[in-house]
Amino acid sequence: MKHEELPLLNIFKNLRQQHGLLLGVDEYMVVLRSLQAGLGVESRQELEELCCLVWAKSEQENHLIRQIFEKMWQILPTQSGNQVRGIPEPRTLPESNISLPEKPTVTKPLSDASSDEKPAPEPSQVDELAELESKPTIIPEPLQTVQAVRSSRQDRLQIRPHYSLLSEYFPVTKRQMKQSWRYLRRPVREGIPIELDVEATVAKIGHEGMLLTPVLIPRLTNRTDLVLLIDQEGSMVPFHDLSRQLVETAERGGRLRQTHVFYFHDYADDYLYRHPALLDAQPISEVMEEIGQRAVVLIVSDAGAARGNFDQERVEETKQWIEQLQQSVRYCAWLNPMPNEYWRDTTAGEIARLLPMFEMSRQGMNGAISVLRGRYVAWEKMYSWLI
């Protein structure tokens, strides 16, 4: 089998487009360069290994690449009519590999990445690969969210593309979440003094006539304590994965000092739960004492917008605990996974009058984080029907 016949480009595109791996032309070229140098041409396993090394960045991605290889090699014989038998022809002479002009393969990815002129890979292949994703393998639940969001936005999505170009259907991708979290910072000098305070040292020398000891100050660290209050169960079920991702990115990708996560259902009456399955209850007053005044609170809930009805009782109850919340912490905001045009005339619309509520989109999330940083955001003006 020749290099040009290898489904490498398809695999690469599939990883980028269907699975959202952050790969650039560079990464493709590295694999080509290695192939030209004679690496990974011995067997399929070697090629697979090479691709895993260069393209995968986690255990899951390793697994994903292996899976796609498996799938590709199943498709291949039927498609090209070649007898591949799972292993490409062995290339014995490394010298000939190096001298082989591989121009067509090299230029392909370049033109491909820069323009869309190149036709997409044969539909059958794309379909089969798309199938791969829909199977509940690595990222199972997002589909539920997708369906939830899609069905609510049907009017917008009239022309549905043959296949989606984005890996994550979420309104905010994991990467964007991480980026947003990074803005949530309250730098405070804390810890052991190790940084030289130049100004103070100079002033001290001026005062004492000579340098006896330099003035040291602690380094800047982020002192934001984030509290995530997440609505679980009921109408929030399709969004579980989304909130899980929110928690994960805040804990692992952010630079927050502490992240507390509590769960509730519909509204918090007297208790908040530490476990997503609403276990490990803790009285709300105790939680408030524990997190302290300076913590910032972000609530994640659809506030009844998913059901689309109006529930006076829920509004009243929510109002009560929001007021309680606002008394104990300075900044809090609400993220609603439902798009804001669905809030109107529902419980959510009424709750949105109580505190800054944002839809779960990039702008919404940035807005919520600005509120948590103590900036004023004209959130009411975003929704004309609120005023």
Binding site: D26, S34, G38, E59
Partner: protein, 302 residues
């Protein structure tokens, strides 16, 4: 990838074979032997071949991530620069540090004595960090950036240019330091925090799998040559049993390094006695089980 060897030779680059370190060497350098899997050896060689792609190693704690760099440096006979990251480490620390306070003291002394020997030369106050040293070295250097996830999340991004272009600028003097020989960079991460995508993109990634029973046996054997086969087999068997029981739970699992510590104690006792003990309750459980719950869970069973 068998032809990597010829390839690296053709390019005049060193080639790592993963041979275990001989006993004399390990005593001489105070290093214990290291036994990498063939795939890991490939990964190392690919990183050597590509030059500006560091090898990012992940895996369970105690599976030998940190030890690899040392083993590679020793086998290839290259200088070794470890850089152990702490939560306060900044990217610049790895390149150089400028001791302003020291210079300030010297300026004062100089103004008193009316002699200014070294104060004028800023280079006297600049100390190169591990990466800076590696760039300056005429020989290719093996650099280990250990536990990169401990640092601030900006840390990896601050190193992008330095690792990519293999040069950096000393702000204080304006001097550009360019790598004379591209270093072989190993990065380990315990996955406490996610690394930025831009950084990940530039790395080769390798996940060190937990060794199989056979590999475990050979690992024990090269660490403790001439140990009785029965004892090695019994110990490894007991160890893997324990590990399998831990499977599926989120707790810390027993690691290779703990097995070696454990075995080091076991071999000191008469063989028949130990073999008998291995049948029953785990001997010296404090080496393997680090939590009270684990003690309760795994010790009460037999």
């Amino acid at each position: 990838m068998s032809n990597l060897k010829n390839l690296l030779k053709a390019h005049g680059k060193p080639f790592y074979t993963g041979n275990s370190i001989s006993l004399e060497d390990s005593q001489g350098y105070k290093l214990s032997p290291y036994l990498p899997s063939p795939k890991l050896v490939d990964a190392v060689n690919l990183s050597i071949f590509l030059e500006n792609r560091p090898l990012l190693l992940k895996g369970e704690p105690g599976c030998g991530k940190t030890r690899l760099a040392e083993a590679v440096a020793l086998e290839l006979g290259l200088p070794y620069q470890p850089w152990y990251i702490k939560s306060t480490t900044k990217a610049k620390d790895g390149l150089y540090t400028y001791d302003a306070v020291d210079r300030l003291y010297d300026v004062q002394l100089a103004s008193m004595d009316k002699q200014s020997p070294q104060v004028k030369d800023l280079n006297n106050y600049i100390r190169k960090g591990p990466l800076g040293c590696a760039f300056e070295n005429e020989k290719r250097t093996v650099v280990l950036i250990d536990e990169i996830d401990k640092a601030d999340i900006d840390f990896p991004n601050d190193l992008l240019r330095e690792l990519d272009e293999q040069k950096f600028k000393i702000e204080e003097t304006g001097e550009e330091v360019e790598a004379k020989c591209p270093p072989i960079v190993f990065i380990t991460s315990n996955d406490e925090k996610d690394l930025p995508d831009a950084f990940l993109r530039r790395c080769l990634f390798y996940y060190i799998e937990f060794p199989s029973d056979e590999q475990l046996k050979s690992i024990v054997n090269i660490h403790f040559p001439e140990s009785p086969i029965d004892l090695v087999e019994a110990a490894v068997k007991r160890f893997t049993e324990l590990r399998q029981k831990m499977q599926g739970k989120h707790d810390k699992k027993v690691s290779t390094s703990e097995l070696l510590d454990w075995f080091a104690v076991l071999r000191e006792f008469p063989q028949d006695e130990v073999l008998k003990q291995l049948q029953g309750q785990i001997p010296f459980p404090e080496i393997l089980l680090k939590k009270w719950e684990d003690h309760q869970r795994y010790l009460s069973e037999k």
